[in-house]
Structures are given as structure tokens and as C-alpha cells.
Symmetry: C2
Subunit: 493 residues, 2 copies
């Protein structure tokens, strides 16, 4: 993937030229570029892949619209100018292996493409190459109901997976719930989380094993199927979150969770965002096992109302915590009681409960829809994460700074694990972009000063590669680089 | 570590000579051995380390008893014949870095030593070298109560850590609970779990970041301090479980959990081990959030009675499930009701509850003490893990096979995550060792046939390195090898 190629490969990590007054690393951007295939060689490679995977179906497309669709994203803050030279649509692990083998031979970059909903340019193609679109690999391969696990292909969406599990009456579901269009492959690439992460953790906690095609076409399986193993290095943990830079995931065995007996959704408003953040921290510190806890500020609530996604219901435009409770009937009632007490002590208002399944969906959708509501306007979005105790501080300061700059910004987040997003609406044509970029940089720096991270879950992509260096330091980056070099010596992934 | 050195470095992975009729890989055991320091060079290295870390304290010991203590374990099934040439007792990350830098220069193997309670020869020293004993690095470095995390040195024991957290009245605890003598460093090395794993997961779920000294002495920090991050590769996941083969952990930031309001411990007996295993699988499939669920067979229960660890209380010598319930008072009562129903349907008897904190400890200690009870006799122990649905099958077959061979064997396990241990008592002097080895091999093969793993939590060490190859296959092993080579090119760790 590009950030690794750019940052670890031959670029930034090796060419730090100094540190400026504010601790920002100065980088030599004229570092050498690795030797990739010429246009002619890429053509030969494409022909070879066609030969080896044909003749029944042509898995390669060079249609200009297709290339454009795979090299540019409406949603992304960063777009590079060059496009992939071809898009491959493999149908099996073996075809992926063939593609990798040929690309490895001719040094053709490979860019894996899954849901395409990434926000940091994770799938852009700055050096041409072949985009591998897993669209046709979207099936359930094997469902082991008694073992509570399932084997799937990378392009199945998590919502589709859950719909299929529900229609089978399995009583099981896959609990990691990022944006509605996300697919399993991309979720593995970014080690994504979602609103359920407080209770169920992130993607890496739900992957039992992966089938991975390495840069040279070798097919490996990271582990076998039991839930627990300490055999050898934890390759699962390494491939999950590696953004496709170490190998192409073609199959995943996922753990499934039992659908809880009872589910309750409620919202509660607070006078200030700091009160909301304090209440959230207290819920975590008290160990109340909420299923999900999200924060949205008054701006975000207004955007939801304006967007009309939950119409006719209209929300109070105040800082709001969203809670999901799940478990048995009795434990849900008890958890609600505990959280109500904490909210009250922090200035919270009355709990508004969803009265039935339809209202639960509606209410939760206010949170879920928020990103999509924002997208109807023009905006930028970024995310950081800090330890619990600093949450109220960073949210307050970052929001104030945005307001001072006259930017229309708002805060929302998976507050249960210290992760929040800042969304900024701006006009890209009147110079606001620079202001926004400055603000985002400051927020990232602030999160790092608080021992935080520059990305809780969106991951690095092309947009935050300088922040990564700033966050982990050159030595740690060198380790990542060594691993990358070991598994993909030609840096084609 | 040795298994990696032996298996990945230049040995087994590169010299597979064929596959026998039963699918066992035939290996060329005469593979070349890497160039390590001569005795003379090791002496120079020791002198250099003394120079650089002295003169106030001599951190190096060459006392023969010390060397023996660090190269041989009473408890291990495998012991190699050579001893380390010195034992280093560093006091800081910087001293560990100095040791590694010098050892790297002179190609002196380094063997990290933490609790010394490993069962698979994880700390043996087949090529001499320096044993690094972290005994003096056993402190709490920083406690962040509001963030619910703590920074510790590797030699602090998990029980000691919890005692300190309790005496501070923090309301927090570290939930990973392996054998009572285990230390955090070793627990990280093996990605260990314990009886609480059903509810709280394994070591990797509780490590926020690590300070690691690499083979060449470079000091890195895997991540910053928030609970969630997707910045760069998941190095935590890679170092946790790598058995010290990729770097030396000198500091760890760990998440802490909230001490639950209520705790209840109960045991229930079953007519057969299959009934017990079926009940356990049903508890998991129903999603009852038990805090712990362990199985012990009738033999194990007799050993506990014989050992007298829980005297005067005496246990029924039948296959037994041990349960721990935790949460609020109401949720504990509810969970107990659910599990009682499942036990009854599977032929279980009456629940025996601990009536107070003392009895809880006593009752749970019957399970915790079992290994130590066995050690008073002469025994071997091994562990495998399989998917839930195969648990009853493999336990029944493996136990019958042991009985048929006239071996005194017994089963116990963390049944909640499909992991069980088989303990075999034998006389090493009358040829029983071969029988035992044959049986263990068969059990491992059986687990792998059921898509299981050769080690749920003891990890590979020196004892199971052939099983690892058999389990993950040569391609996956080659990936592990490439990572190892990238981070420790001279294979000194």
C-alpha cells in the first residue's frame, strides 16, 4: 500500500534531514523511487495474467471508467493523480496468486480494492499498477454453527453477512460494525472497529485465521481453526491492520457472537461536550458493560436533523451520548440503572429510549447516519484517540480551536474506547483547506502529546503518513520497514 | 529463542526431504549451524558488557550454580545439555540495550529468562550464550488510574501486581491468570491465557504497548498509550507470543479491568467426561457470559484430593466442571441459573457453591493447584486446542488411548475456549517415556486433523518444533522465518 511504499520503502524514513522548532521532522522529499515496470512491461504482464486465467472469463478490465473508479474516491481527503493501468476481478485464491506471481515477476504494483469506502486514500494508485478488485469474491465459504465461526471471502459486507446469518436463524452475528458499506477484506486491512467495539473489541479480536496471497504469489494460511493458539508468530495480528501491504487476504475465518436476548438503545443530552465526555469516562471506569457508547456534539445533532435521515423524529441539538445495552433482560435493566445514575451526576438529562425495534434502528441510525449526513455537504473528517483521562480535555480544546477559526466543525466518536472523530465542513475553493489542514495537524499533535495516537481506526493510508513517523518514531518505523522488506522485497503491494 | 533458531533459521524449514506415509514430514537434521561466537569471543563480550554497565554493580554472573539454574528446569519435558556461559541481571532498558549491542557485535546468543516456569524448554540454551534474567526489573513504573492502565517491568508477577493494585484500593485488577509463579515478561512471550480467558481473553488483548530491545540493541516502543490505534503495523501483536525471538521486552503498558461487584465459584460433577465437555460447549453456544469455565476429570480430582492442597475439603472423584461467575449481584444470579439448566440437561449433578471468600479461594485452588499437585509426582503435560464442536470427541478418544496403554493420564483444561491439557504420570526410567511421547504425538495429530492447534497456550519452545511445521506448513513457516531474519539477522535471540 502506498503509505508504506512512500514512507517505509525508500522515502521518508531514510531521509530525515532534521527537526524543526516545533518538533516536526523535516523530510527530504526527493528520495529515489523504486524501479517499477514500464508501461510496456505492464502491458505484457496484463497479457500474461489473461493467458493464465482465461480463456472462459476475462478477469482484467482496462475500461477507462473502471480505472477512474478504482483510482479516485469522492469521499477521500487525498487523491493522487495517476490511475491504475488495469483492474483485475479475480474469482478465487488461485487467480489472485496468479496475478501476484506475474506482477512480482514484472515489478507491477498491486493495489487491493475492497469496499472503497476508505477515507485516507488507502487504495490510491500513485505509481500505476493493477488494482485487484475482489467484487466477485463475496461468498460464505463454510459456516460452522457449533463452533461459532464462519469462513468468508473478502468482499462480503458485514451487514450482508449478518443478514444471511439472521435469515438462517443461526442465533449468531458478526459484531464488528463500521460504516454500512464496509466489506470484510477492508475491515481486516484497517483493523477496523465500530460502535460495538466497547463490548466486542476490534477486527483483530474476531479473526481466527486468514488465507493470504503474498507478494510473490505464495498462498499461506496464518493459523488453524481453534479460537486459541500460541503456535508460532501471531501472523493474524500482523496481517490484520497492514492495509494490504504485506499480502492479499483472499479468505478469512471469523468468530461469531451469540445474538443477545435483549437490546436497548437510549440517548441522553448534556449541557456541554465536556460533561458528556466526563460521564463517558466514568461509565468505563465503573466497568458498566455497555454494548456501545457514542458521543455526538450539538453540531452533529443539527446535521442529523438537517439531513432528515431519521425524519420525522427530530433530536435536541445538544451534546449527546448514545448508548446501546445488550444481554439478558435483567442485566440490561441493571446496566441502564447504573448508567442513568452516572449521567445524572454529570448533568445529563432524561434518557430517551427506543420503544421498539424500529425505533432502535431509527435512534441508532442517527449516529450511524451522521457520517453520511455530513457527506451530503462538503467536508473533511479525521480521527484521533487518547487515554480516557484526557478525552474531555482534547475534545474541548480541539472544538474551541475550530470555532475560533470560524470553521464549521463537529465532534463525534466511539467514546467508549477513547477514540473520537472531528468532522470539518469547508469550501475547498476559498482557501479554507489550508486552515483545515493546520487544525487537523494541531489536533493530531495534541493527541500525541497526550500519549495518544494519530488514528484510532481509519489507519494511515496516504493522508497521514507524516503523522505516523511523528507518532512511532524512526526506530519503530524501521522495524515496520524491515518486516515489509522481508515479505515484499520488490515493494509491489 | 531456540525453536525459531532450530526450526526457522537454517534447519528444518529449509531441509524438508519428504513426507512419510502418515503425512509426517521427513527432515534432514544435519542442516548447518549458524556461526556463533567462540568461547574466547564470548569471554570478550562479557568483559565488554561489564565495562559498559559497571563499575558500581556487576550485572554479570558466571557462577556455575547460577548457570545451571538458568539452563535446566525440573519442570520441563525437554532439557538440552549445554548451559549459558553467563547470566546477566540488567536493571534498566539501557542495560538490556548494551547487552544486546555487544552480543550482536560478537554473535553471542541471548536467552531471555523471566519466571522460569515454562513447560516446553522455552528458555533452554542449546548453543551457550548469555541468559538475560530480568529478576531486578520487577517494578511498577507508572500507574494511570483514570486511564485504567499501568506500566510495568517484565519480572513483576501477575499475582504480585494484583496484590499491589488491591492494597492501593484501586478497584482495578489485571485479569490474565496463568500459573501462580508466572511473570508479565514470560506471559507476553507466550501470549498466555488462564482460567479467566473465557471472559477476558488472552495476554495480547491486554497489552497496550511494549518497550522492546531489538537484537542489535535498538530500543523501540511498539505504540503509544490509547486503548485503540490503527497506526502502522500491529507490532504488539507480533511481539506478544514471539517467545523473545524478535526482541527483549523491557517494559509493558497493560490495560486493567474493573474488579466486579460480585463473584461466585461453583463446581458440578458429570457421569462422563463427554457429558462435561458437551455441557461446556452448550454454555459457550448459548453465550452465557461465565467468567471462567474449567474441566477436570476424575483422575485429576483424585490427584487434588491426594495432594491435600484443599484439605480438609475432599472432592467427588468424577468429571467436574469448575465455574466462576462475576458481574453485578443480579447478573451473577441470572448466569448461575442459566448454567444450572444446561448442566442438568447434560446429566450434571448439584452445584456446590463456595460459601465465602475463603471457600472460593479453596474451591478455585483445587483447579489452580492441580498442576502443582501433579508435580509432586513425576509427570509430563501437554496441551492442544480444537474448535468447540470437536472438544468432546478429542477428549474422549485421547483419554481412552492413554488408559489402553496403561498410562496414568488425566485431562484438565480451559474448556471455555476449546483448549485442554493432558497430564501423564510416568516413570522416566522404565521405558514409559517412549509410550508417552507416542501418545502425545498422536494427540497433537488428532487435534490438527480436527483443524486444531498443537498448542493452545504453552507455545512452541524446544519441545514442539516439529509439530509447528506440521501445523502451519512450510510456506507459513517461511513467512515467520523471513520476519525473524529481518529483525534478528544474526539469529542471536
Amino acid at each position: 500500500m502506498d503509505w508504506i511504499r512512500g514512507l517505509l520503502g525508500w522515502g521518508i524514513a531514510t531521509t530525515i534531514t532534521g527537526v524543526d522548532g516545533k518538533g516536526l521532522l523535516l523530510l527530504n522529499r526527493k528520495a529515489p523511487i523504486p524501479q517499477y515496470a514500464s508501461a510496456k512491461e505492464m502491458e505484457i504482464a496484463i497479457k500474461k495474467i489473461r493467458e493464465k486465467t482465461g480463456p472462459l472469463v476475462d478477469i482484467i478490465s482496462t475500461d477507462p471508467e473502471d480505472l477512474h473508479a478504482h483510482g479516485y474516491s469522492e469521499w477521500s481527503t487525498v487523491n493522487t493523480s495517476s490511475l491504475p493501468v488495469a483492474v483485475a476481478y479475480p474469482r478465487s485464491t488461485e487467480q489472485v496468486s496468479t496475478i501476484a506471481r506475474v506482477c512480482h515477476e514484472y515489478r507491477v504494483p498491486i493495489i487491493p480494492y475492497s469496499g472503497g469506502s476508505s477515507l485516507e486514500g488507502n487504495f490510491s494508485a500513485p505509481f500505476g499498477g493493477i488494482s485487484v478488485d475482489f467484487a466477485h469474491m463475496d461468498q460464505i465459504v463454510q459456516f460452522n454453527r457449533e463452533d461459532m465461526d464462519i469462513v468468508v471471502q473478502p468482499s462480503i459486507g458485514w451487514q450482508d453477512l449478518n443478514d444471511q446469518l439472521a435469515s438462517m436463524g443461526s442465533g449468531l452475528f458478526f459484531p464488528v460494525d463500521p460504516g454500512p458499506t464496509a466489506k470484510i477484506g477492508g475491515m481486516i486491512g484497517t483493523n477496523c472497529s465500530g460502535t460495538n467495539a466497547v463490548k466486542y473489541g476490534t477486527m483483530k479480536d474476531w479473526v481466527i485465521n486468514l488465507t493470504v496471497v503474498l507478494a510473490d504469489g505464495t498462498i499461506i494460511k496464518t493459523r488453524r481453526r481453534p479460537r486459541k493458539s500460541s503456535a508460532g508468530y501471531n501472523l493474524n495480528g500482523l496481517f490484520v491492520g497492514s492495509e494490504g501491504t504485506l499480502g492479499l487476504v483472499t479468505e478469512a475465518t471469523l468468530k461469531l457472537a451469540v445474538v443477545p436476548e435483549a437490546l436497548s438503545v437510549a440517548v441522553v443530552t448534556f449541557p456541554t461536550i465536556r460533561d458528556a465526555a466526563s460521564a463517558a469516562a466514568e461509565v468505563m471506569q465503573a466497568g458498566v458493560p455497555v454494548a456501545a457508547m457514542e458521543v455526538m456534539d450539538e453540531v452533529q445533532m443539527r446535521v442529523v436533523n438537517l439531513g432528515g435521515a431519521t425524519a420525522p423524529r427530530v433530536w435536541r441539538e445538544l451534546p449527546t451520548l448514545f448508548f446501546k445495552f445488550s444481554g439478558t433482560r435483567a442485566s440490561v435493566a441493571e446496566d441502564i440503572g447504573s448508567v442513568q445514575g452516572i449521567a445524572r451526576r454529570n448533568g445529563g438529562g432524561r434518557f430517551e429510549f427506543a420503544r421498539d425495534g424500529r425505533e432502535q434502528k431509527l435512534l441508532w441510525s442517527a449516529r450511524k447516519e451522521s457520517l453520511w449526513s455530513m457527506l451530503a455537504l462538503r467536508k473533511g473528517s479525521t480521527d484521533v484517540a487518547v487515554p480516557f483521562s484526557r478525552l474531555a480535555d482534547i475534545i474541548e480544546v480541539s472544538k474551541k480551536e475550530m470555532d475560533d477559526l470560524g470553521l464549521f466543525a463537529s465532534i463525534l466518536g466511539h467514546i467508549g474506547d477513547g477514540n473520537f472523530h472531528e468532522s470539518i465542513l469547508y469550501d475547498p475553493n476559498n482557501g479554507e483547506r489550508e486552515k483545515v489542514e493546520e487544525c487537523v495537524k494541531k489536533m493530531v499533535r495534541r493527541a500525541l502529546d497526550m500519549e495518544g495516537t494519530c488514528t484510532g481506526e481509519h489507519s494511515i493510508g496516504w493522508g497521514k503518513k507524516e503523522s505516523l513517523l511523528w507518532e512511532v518514531g524512526p526506530e519503530t518505523l524501521a522495524v515496520m520497514r524491515a518486516i515489509k522488506a522481508a515479505l515484499d522485497p520488490k515493494w509491489i503491494l
